[in-house]
Symmetry: C2
Subunit: 558 residues, 2 copies
Amino acid sequence: MTSPSRLIYLPLGGAGEIGMNCYVYGFGPQGKERFILVDLGVSFPDMDGTPGVDLILPDVSWLADRADRVDAIFITHAHEDHVGALGQLYRHFPKVPVYARVFTANIATRKMEEAGQDPAMVQVAPVWPQTVTAGPFTVGFAPTAHSIPEASALVIDSPEGRVVHSGDFKIDRDPRVGEPFDPVMWDEIGKSGVRALICDSTNVFSRHEGRSESDLPAPITELVANARGMVVATTFASNIARVKTLAEAGRAAGRTVCLMGRAMKRMVTAGVETGVLTDFPPTVSPEEATQIPRENLMLIVTGSQGERRAASAALSRGKYLGHELKEGDTFLFSSKTIPGNEVSVGRIQNALSEIGVEIVDEQSGFYHVSGHANRPDLQRMHGLVKPQILVPNHGEHRHLREHCRVGAEGGLTPILAPNGSMVELSGNAPSVVEHIEVSRTYLDGSRLIGALDGVVRDRMKLALNGLVVVAIIIDEDDEPLEDCWVELRGLPEMAGNESVADMIEDQLSEVLPRLDNKTVMDDGKLEEAVRRVARQVCVSEIGRKPEVTVIISRLMSA
Amino acid sequence: MTSPSRLIYLPLGGAGEIGMNCYVYGFGPQGKERFILVDLGVSFPDMDGTPGVDLILPDVSWLADRADRVDAIFITHAHEDHVGALGQLYRHFPKVPVYARVFTANIATRKMEEAGQDPAMVQVAPVWPQTVTAGPFTVGFAPTAHSIPEASALVIDSPEGRVVHSGDFKIDRDPRVGEPFDPVMWDEIGKSGVRALICDSTNVFSRHEGRSESDLPAPITELVANARGMVVATTFASNIARVKTLAEAGRAAGRTVCLMGRAMKRMVTAGVETGVLTDFPPTVSPEEATQIPRENLMLIVTGSQGERRAASAALSRGKYLGHELKEGDTFLFSSKTIPGNEVSVGRIQNALSEIGVEIVDEQSGFYHVSGHANRPDLQRMHGLVKPQILVPNHGEHRHLREHCRVGAEGGLTPILAPNGSMVELSGNAPSVVEHIEVSRTYLDGSRLIGALDGVVRDRMKLALNGLVVVAIIIDEDDEPLEDCWVELRGLPEMAGNESVADMIEDQLSEVLPRLDNKTVMDDGKLEEAVRRVARQVCVSEIGRKPEVTVIISRLMSA
């Protein structure tokens, strides 16, 4: 007997963190559901927890094991934390169509190409009320507003009713590029009855109504008009509306505009190619810009989060692409510093301060607005969509919990579903029906490795403890040579006037000949004996307990 | 002919960063000045730039080279970034007296003891208008207010006039523990004519007048009174006034108070021992507290900055000292998250959210006040002290610059003097007369190492790049053995189904026998050849360019 069909929701990323969005919807009898996947985003590594990693990707192994039942992938918008993993993870879902709106599809196509996947699998989806059919689902892209063009919620209709997946959104009557948030459309979507709203939680702790992108042109234009030397402005490259506002402010002040940084040029190009960006002011290349007097120049650059290799950081360090900041220049951060990036951004601001550059940032309150719905805006969305069930997503655990509370206060039935919680949305009340073990995947050089594989943990141990390498040789008669070779990495070479490596070698030369045969013949035991000696010396001489790698070379008789 | 005497100021730490305060004042003919040292603080390491380091200390080598001319060390208050390096760095200044007020002296004495220095060198200084004489200086401890008891500015009189060194301070009419800020005293100090004010810049970007510690008891008491389950509150242990407010709020709600975390107990003990803390409510030990029903209990714990080993983090992870948080408990962060600690604090808050604990933090605006003077308060201090010269300190470069601007607007003569800038304060106008190279010192295990020694840079390379260790043996005939031994650390072991180590060994087995004799005989060349092979394999197989350590064992003929 087949079990009855059910409608399920399973976050694999993005519910319990801000970033790395990846959500599964399923419909059908248990074990035979058909699936769609919404978003395949990345998260960014840091020295603190993921040194040396290139990108953090969701762990899609659960869905990959059921790839034959995946009918489509939908990408809500072109931010890296929604589309960045598409290329790398598409290998698990060969031939599955990828749907996105035209601007998003442009970026998604590039991700596929870069990863050697078939870009033709990306298809441009029409806009709601038109829909795409994928297995038991029909899915419509309903425009919202956000900090990138064409951000869309998904209206997902299934035999068990309608689900609205908000994607990242804000309520903005005039986002300047792309469609405004349309309360009439949303009211209509809500009127037909919505079983569940899966809803962005990023700004649930912000108590005031959000502001509009269209609040910015006036103050930014005034700021640029009053600047004396060169003006440099940074923002997220994908926030094309902001880039346009900045460029227009430059033009209004009679300045020539120059875009700097690969992402900046790529995003503006994508905007123009796809027709979402019109009337963008003319720009010159960084090279051409060197010919223009600094007081007539405006650079719009990447690196608002303090990324070391981006244009902002490069300019703060000195000459970059022929341009050098000077006292009296103005540097505008038209951006929010994402938690965790404060130190990197501060580093740039201090370097700019040393040069004597005027720094203007969001603290003044005039030059940046958020792309996410604040608490009152979330409440308004709840009121428009009128879902029975609220499932907060795109947030750390504390955001999801707070959003649940806000929903409950508004009379909705909330359910807290962090990554790996499979929620049944059909039936009388939502419930978590299964917990899936979800980890993370690291793109590490050219390889994908699991977060739990231990590779990165080993790197962190090396960084925290330093390393002693010992090479010992066991001769043809199974006797250890008295000499051994020691190298230190990431440890002080000297303890006072004595070499730490020499002290370890001396100590081993004494210990090795005294080891019993059983220890010498057993790699594991021998290694342990050597490690103990190396650690003892380090603890007593430099007060540290290092990692120890022992290489045993056993000579064979000829 | 002796050059004329001059009055100089030289920051060795704290001017260009928040933390690690260390300032030198000198008076006398050039090259024969007598010196006093103000504060010897630490800064805290992080994974991002200083993995494995225990503490960051100022580089005092310039002053250590002139130790015979140092007459005294003054400690303004007992925060780690002002006193934390005293024990470790005192070795450079043997027999120099250390002056501090009684509470600070209690903590300073402990630092000396822990580092094996003579605690009797710490002397309790009297309070202004009494002074201490140290070489050509007389120095008075003038009470200010801050987030620790007995914070003091120093009134430093020299033959070239008076300097006021503000230390960390705020303007607080009622700090609850220790003296209030006394505008009458400060007006009098200013009236006698002040050549220079060296002034805290931490909060120069905060535009509103600071609030008083005495604003907190009412809302905190109400919060605790309304809580249902267990209440846990965290703050800086050294903020004894806050700890007292929290404890009193617990008592007022009929709760038994328990202090948790070594620093918490140590600071309260120091407060009681020195008489600055009176009427502290009775407390029980964590063990005794396990016998008390959770709704009658209030824990006051360390770890407000998310420190992994402190009580807050431990409680967020599960059972700690017999106590375990549950749904419905309340956790109050009566603290500010210092920039750079957002992720660590967020980790704890998310863990608490997973348990279902109510989290209350400073975002609400009611449960924390800063210990530093905001911009209007700085302006008020300028107005009271009326210095000719303003030298901002205790700030990142951007804070120092902004503070200079604020001072100039108020009619003062500011001078921007980051670490290493020797400023002459005597003469007609202040000027930087010399730049001293100052680095940082790391306490690393039991050793002090220089920040530029490369040890920590090597650790970061290991963490970012991973490591390949290769051991090769050159036999008695100076021929490399065909076999070699490869180990990976912090790198994926496998590339598909093949072992990366095996691939490197195979490749080396081919390359080694073909090396010319000149390469084999030369350790450097041989190492380079081996490194090249290991890197090539890694780049092509796993897309990474690792660190490579090569150990060459040369066998001697018997």
